[in-house]
Amino acid sequence: MSTFVTGAEIAPKSFIINREVLIAYANVSGDQNPIHQDEAFAQSVGLENVIAHGMLTMALVGRYVSEIAGSSAVKEFSARFVKPVVVPANTDVELLVGAKVLSIENNSAKFEITASCKGVKVLSMAKAVIAIK
């Protein structure tokens, strides 16, 4: 695994969210709330369109965190959901994820994570702690 330096930025990575991904995530998570699949329903409750599960966004960011960790353990992972990820039909929405090393202590590295869609932050106060071997 790589050596982390406080303040260093980790290369960003983008993830694609579309309706197929929402259906797949609904099926494995058990969260079949129609706001994540049914446009008419989503609009009936005041949303612009179908939105992604917050936990899907967090799971994709989790993939990024796991990749940073490599064979080391992810010890903590947290986020606040501040804006919905709107997913129109037949559209690939890009989730852009990045990270910066906040601190290194107690055999672990703490990261500040950013996640945005079209320049709008969808998570805030996102952090991860990875064990350092």
């Binding site: 995530y25 998570s29 799971a59 994709l60 796991s66 992972f77 947290s78």
Partner: protein, 127 residues
């Protein structure tokens, strides 16, 4: 309205949750993760949210209006296929802000006597 007496109570899952290797592979496939050897960091959300949904609904929370506010995971031991996990959930706080009901639930996951993970979910039932 959520019954405020629920704060501080702990609800222990009736059933043990079996982490099958297939369920890890399915979860990974849905999010595009290629490492199936351990459960991804957010895998346990399906256990903890399913448990919370039951007692929060029974305690009066309008689940149809719920959105996810915050989520935190602390992972003490890797979770792998074949693990049998018991989830106990404690309502840490509940408050009303501008008509929105905000509740935070901690879920502790044990494999036998071993505490493998805890997670905190803050859920908001919109006014």
């Amino acid at each position: 309205m959520l019954n405020p007496d629920i704060v501080g109570r702990t609800f222990t899952g009736v059933n043990t949750f079996t982490v099958t290797q297939e369920s890890i592979i399915e979860f990974c496939a849905a999010i595009g993760e290629q490492d199936f050897t351990i459960a991804p960091p957010t895998y346990t959300i399906k256990i903890s949210l399913a448990e919370s949904q039951v007692f929060l609904k029974e305690s009066g929370l309008n689940w149809d209006r719920v959105v996810h506010g915050d989520q935190k995971f602390e992972i003490y031991q890797p979770i792998v296929g074949g693990d049998l996990l018991l989830c106990s959930s404690t309502v840490e706080s509940a408050r009303v802000v501008a008509g929105n009901e905000i509740v935070t639930v901690r879920a502790d996951l044990h494999r036998g006597s071993e505490h493998v993970a805890s997670s905190w979910a803050t859920l908001v039932a919109r006014a």
